[in-house]
């Protein structure tokens, strides 16, 4: 910071001088005209002998160019007035207040150009930027007319105002353009949103239509299948007379294939109902041991045929459960059927335990079957997916069973987990809350 010598505050000019100067400035809306008028006025009315008015060059804002001057012999004998602490020049010099300088006490940070004028770095301003108010007032006497500093300050302020006005106009133009862009973008966004909303509705409708189609289709498929299974059943019962063994065998094939087809249709219907939110929950209080007994009784023909050691180990302290009995049973039947299907030797254990702190029941079906490679352990929960879904696969089924189980478990606020290794067997566990909340 250079040493400064502020002039003692000169007395304020008289009201007439103020009015005249203010009128002069108000009549100017262009920096050069304003500066020329001010210089003329200063010379004639304020008895200032030498005046130099500088402003940043409009084409090169790094240079100061004279806007107007009068009787200035050289640039060494003057007083420099910088006013308005917000003025870009003052800010560039890091002055906090206006300062007045006498000749010989110039701030060292104001470098002299070859022409004897100042060149200041003001940072970049676009071409066409209006000239700002730097006023240099030169006088042969150190003591200026009391009006001079005030007038110089006002001229500078007016020039600054003009500059700021232009800046404001540019800012407003930019702001208007920005607002227009924002509006356009907002409109575009609204259009996109509307489009998305319509697409969402269309998707929802398509999904509902799909569910309705599948529900109708499975009904339509079941109607003739009912007759196929019914007549086959009647023939096998000998309603139309005794059958020769080959006929009975053929009919048994029709019967078992028909039942398989029915199973597939029912599973598709189940998935459809769950996805359409039309699978009702029937909550009741029931006991797990009886349910597991029922499941094992239902699968007994398959268990007997399998020659596997199938056993149940149930925690004696299992509390009654408040859930959907039919769905829990469907899950356990499915898990046990899978275990029977994928186990060729060894054993299958059905385990049930209760975890008091979490109020969760764990019903596991542990087998010593073929096991599932970790890379397939995600896939098996997806619709129509089996570890081997190829046409030459060794195991039949729709690939919907576990996908249904997973959905049913979720409906009951539970989940199914899997622990398995190839050749080591698999353990599927249904984790079921003691109470299912009705949603």
């Amino acid at each position: 910071m250079p040493s400064t010598a502020a002039l003692p505050s000169p007395p304020a000019p008289g009201p007439e001088a103020r009015l005249a100067f203010a009128e002069l400035l108000l009549g100017c809306d262009e920096a050069r005209a304003c500066a020329e008028a001010a210089v003329t006025w200063l010379v004639h009315h304020a008895h200032v002998h030498q005046v130099l008015c500088l402003a940043p060059c409009e084409s090169d804002s790094h240079c100061l160019v004279p806007l107007a001057s009068h009787g200035l012999p050289c640039a060494e004998d003057f007083v420099l007035a910088l006013h308005d602490t917000k003025h870009p020049l003052v800010e560039a010099l890091q002055w906090t207040e206006p300062r007045w300088f006498h000749p010989g006490q110039l701030p060292t940070e104001l470098p002299m150009a070859m022409t004897g004028l100042f060149t200041l770095s003001l940072g970049s301003t676009a071409p066409g930027t209006p000239a700002t108010g730097l006023l240099l007032v030169a006088s042969p006497e150190p003591q200026l007319s009391p009006d001079a500093p005030w007038l110089a300050g006002h001229l500078g302020m007016h020039l600054t105002r003009l500059y700021k006005g232009r800046q404001l106009a540019r800012l407003e133009a930019a702001s208007t353009e920005l607002a227009a862009r924002v509006n356009a973008a907002t409109e575009e966004l609204a259009t996109q949103n509307e489009l998305l909303r319509r697409q969402a509705i269309q998707l929802e409708q398509a999904s509902a239509a799909k569910s309705q189609f599948l529900a109708n289709m499975s009904h339509e498929l079941r109607t003739p299948l009912n007759a196929i299974l019914g007549y086959t059943n009647m023939l096998l019962q000998g309603v139309n007379g005794e059958l020769a063994p080959p006929q009975r065998r053929s009919l048994s094939r029709i019967d078992s294939n028909g039942r398989h087809l029915l199973e597939i249709i029912n599973e598709i219907l189940d998935i459809t109902r769950i996805e359409a939110g039309r699978m009702p929950l029937h909550l009741s209080e029931f006991r797990i041991p009886e349910l597991i007994q029922e499941v094992m009784a239902e699968l007994d023909p398959i268990i007997v045929r399998s020659k596997l050691a199938v056993s149940a180990a149930l925690d004696p302290n299992l509390p009654p459960v408040h859930s959907d009995r039919q769905k829990v049973k469907q899950i356990v039947v499915n898990l046990l059927s899978n275990a029977l299907k994928f186990t060729h030797e060894g054993s299958i254990k059905v385990l049930a335990s209760y975890e008091v702190p979490t109020a969760m029941l764990h019903i596991s079906v542990a087998d010593t079957g073929i096991g599932i490679d970790p890379i397939h352990q995600e896939k098996i929960w997806e619709d129509f997916q089996q570890v081997d879904s190829s046409p030459t696969r060794a195991y039949g089924g729709t690939g919907l069973g576990l996908s249904i189980c997973r959905r049913l478990a979720a409906m009951l606020d539970g989940r199914i987990s899997l622990k398995s290794a190839v050749g080591q067997g698999s353990t599927f566990t249904l984790h079921l809350p003691r109470r299912t909340r009705r949603t």
Partner: protein
């Protein structure tokens, strides 16, 4: 219609279904199982036959032309002459709501198709066992 059963005192079952193959299949098996059978193809026919024949039990498909099974059941249950005849609803629609609507219409039991003939006959026997013979 169907040939009369072997025994005029055996219970008469009215089977209502617009799908001929299913209707005749159940009729044939019911007769095989010792019942007398009458058939109707729609709800209106069912109501008329119920008034005329006064069957021991009615097997009512719900999705029917002319008059659906729910409306037919409501009419039968609303008339003192047929109110006491048990109605077993029979439907291929497993969607939620059908069983409740069937109950609301006054059905005494509900069977979902596919239903094997022997299972249907067991249901008929069960329903007949629960109602008084005076019905």
């Amino acid at each position: 219609m169907n040939s009369p059963a072997r025994n005029d005192t055996s219970p008469l079952v009215l089977i209502v279904d617009d799908y001929q193959d299913a209707r005749e299949m159940y009729a044939e098996y019911l007769e095989f199982s010792g019942f007398r059978v009458a058939e109707a193809r729609n709800g209106l026919e069912a109501v008329e036959k119920a008034f005329a024949l006064h069957p021991a039990v009615i097997l009512m498909d719900l999705s029917l032309p002319v008059m659906d099974g729910w409306e037919a059941t409501r009419r039968l249950k609303g008339d003192p002459r047929t109110r006491s005849i048990p109605v077993v609803a029979l439907t291929g629609h497993a969607l939620d709501g059908h069983s409740r609507e069937a109950q609301d219409a006054g059905c005494d039991a509900y069977v979902t198709k596919p239903c094997l003939p022997d299972a249907l006959v067991r249901e008929v026997q069960r329903v007949l066992a629960t109602v008084s013979p005076a019905a």
